[in-house]
């Protein structure tokens, strides 16, 4: 890992806008279409069709094994009466707020710590990113073992230094403790990933700006507030967007680590949808919830995009 993660100062090509292609003599429209056809078929069949289908399903009573019957807007009105859904929405929003604040602080802190080239920095960058190299479900399962009383080292360690008197159940005892475990897992697994994105933003800021500020007598804190934060705004917006979307759609960290418990205290919205579809076999109702989540997230993404655009211009 010695020369690891040599993040380049500037990405070699920035998003979107390609230079306009000059008109081409040889290419008929059909040739291009033929090359794009496989992608078009996949998009139509496995993206557009399911998008339409989920809306249609949400208007029907759609049991797993029997034929569907039209019942609009039954699936939507039932959601309002479902106490589990409302609890899950409240929990997911709370979880998203906590994770976004903590994860962002840790990731940004790490990025600032590893932003300058110095001996051994590649090793530290690699070490912080290492958990992100492991699959998300794998990492969750790893944490489940780490926190277990049977083989996990945590209880012995904490008892050894006198912080706790008796073994603690980290995933199934106190709801607040189980919640803390999921947040810790998410920070451990995703901090390095977000650090890497923030690091590219930091490194794209030309050094001359900092030098000019230093010559003018700016303190390190002033330089951070007046230079780093404003210039990092697009990267920060991207990272926050990824964190918020990822948290709102959280599933594995609850389904695997806490099983949504204790009780249903850590049951997220996506868990409710999956349970509605494949435990209660009510696909129509699950589709209605999906449509609402979809609409909320598309709206959120559009708002964030508009926000980023305005700040950029």
């Amino acid at each position: 890992m010695s020369n690891s993660l040599g993040v380049r100062a500037r990405p070699d090509r920035v998003t979107g806008a390609a230079p306009p292609a000059p008109p081409r003599r040889r290419s008929s429209g059909l040739t291009g279409l033929a090359y794009a056809a496989p992608a078009a078929v996949i998009v139509a069949l496995f993206f557009l069709l399911p998008l339409g289908l989920v809306v249609w399903m949400s208007l029907n009573k759609w049991p797993l094994l029997a034929p569907p019957t039209f019942n609009a807007p039954g699936n939507y009105t039932q959601i309002a009466d479902n106490a589990l859904v409302l609890d899950a929405v409240v929990f997911t929003l709370k979880y998203t707020a906590v994770v976004t604040v903590l994860l962002f602080s840790v990731a940004f802190g790490l990025a600032l710590l590893v932003q300058h080239r110095r001996p051994g920095i590649g090793f530290f960058r690699g070490a912080f990113f290492l958990p992100a190299a492991v699959g998300w479900a794998t990492a969750t399962l790893l944490f489940f073992g780490l926190l277990s009383d049977q083989i996990g080292p945590l209880n012995d360690l904490l008892e050894g230094i006198g912080l706790i008197d008796a073994p603690v159940s980290w995933t199934a005892g106190d709801p607040a403790v189980a919640f803390g475990s999921t947040v810790t897992l998410v920070i451990w697994r995703w901090a390095g990933f977000n650090m890497l994105i923030l690091l590219t933003g930091l490194q794209a800021i030309p050094n001359e700006i900092y030098e000019a500020a230093r010559v003018d007598g700016a303190s390190a804190f002033q330089a951070f507030r007046r230079i780093t934060l404003p210039l990092m705004r697009p990267t920060i917006a991207l990272v926050l967007c990824l964190m918020i979307t990822g948290s709102l759609l959280g599933f594995e960290q609850f389904y695997i680590l806490t099983r949504g418990g204790p009780g249903s205290s850590t049951t997220s919205v996506v868990m409710v949808i999956v349970r509605e579809a494949f435990v209660r076999f009510n696909l129509g109702s699950a589709a209605a919830m999906s449509v609402l989540v979809l609409a909320a997230l598309v709206l959120l993404n559009a708002l964030q995009l508009a926000f980023i655009r305005r700040r950029n211009s």
Binding site: D12, P38, I42, L49, L141
Partner: protein, 262 residues
């Protein structure tokens, strides 16, 4: 910041991040206080046999990686070098896949794959995984082709190659780094994904590794066999860690590409 304090702090932080992974490997080879490969023996015999789950996962990975490379190479070539009706619309639709949350679209896909006779099949699952890879893969390949000078394939055409000949003989060798990055991310997605196989695969004999190993925790009927579970974790994590350490250049390129920016 003073150097010794900085390095001491960084060492402690690094330990916090690396320790769980090292612990997992350690705990998978411990039985009581002694070294033992017992948990790996149990893992080999777990359920249908870990070989079955590994085979399923490898089949899924091969379908997904090959399919993603094929579709994204052609599409990237089309977007970088040709004009065709619906070009702008198709590109926007491909990027729109990023806007749609993964879990919400899996319920209709479950029904749709049933209609297509692809329910509970690794091929159907692979097609879904390819779809989710398209935004990143097509964006990456389009940029890769665009950074190759046009004179290169134009010269090949003057020499009598068709557009396909120019692609295969001249352009493909020039976009190998892009292909490696796309293939790498397709591998990581299909090797690790849990939610899509959980929903789209229902028979035990077709489960992929993540679903099978997570079932040790979820369907344990009381007692979880923790060491065997950690052996499963190590088994799934090792290829990913090896790839990370060996192919870091491509890894980081994927992050920097801006395709993540949606």
């Amino acid at each position: 910041m003073r150097r010794p304090a900085y390095y001491a702090g960084m060492a402690v932080l690094s330990l916090l991040f690396v320790y769980p992974i090292v612990w997992s490997g350690w705990s998978s080879v411990r039985l009581g206080d002694a070294f033992s490969l017992d948990s790996y023996r149990k893992l080999a015999e777990y359920g249908e046999g870990v070989g079955v789950y590994l085979t399923n996962t490898v089949i899924l990975v091969l379908f997904t990686v090959a399919g993603t490379l094929l579709v994204a190479t052609f599409a990237g070539y089309a977007f970088a070098r040709f004009r065709f009706p619906g070009k702008g619309l198709l590109f926007v639709l491909i990027l729109a896949i990023l806007m749609v949350p993964y879990p919400t679209i899996l319920i209709p896909l479950y029904v749709l794959l049933g209609w297509l006779g692809l329910q509970d099949s690794l091929l159907g699952l692979a097609l879904v995984m390819i779809m989710f890879q398209l935004p990143f893969a097509v964006f990456m390949m389009r940029n890769a082709f665009e950074s190759v000078p046009r004179t290169l394939d134009e010269a090949a055409m003057i020499d009598g190659c068709g557009s396909f000949g120019a692609l295969v003989r001249v352009l493909l060798p020039a976009v190998v780094p892009g292909l490696v990055t796309v293939g790498l991310f397709a591998f990581l997605a299909s090797w690790n994904d849990y939610v899509a196989p959980l929903i789209l695969i229902s028979s035990n004999e077709r489960f992929t590794l993540p679903v099978a190993v997570v079932n040790m925790r979820l369907h344990n009927f009381g007692a979880v066999d923790y060491p065997t579970m950690q052996a499963g974790v190590v088994f799934m994590a090792l290829p990913c860690l090896a790839i990370f350490l060996l192919l870091q250049r491509y890894y980081v390129r994927g992050f920097m590409s801006g395709a993540l920016r949606g």
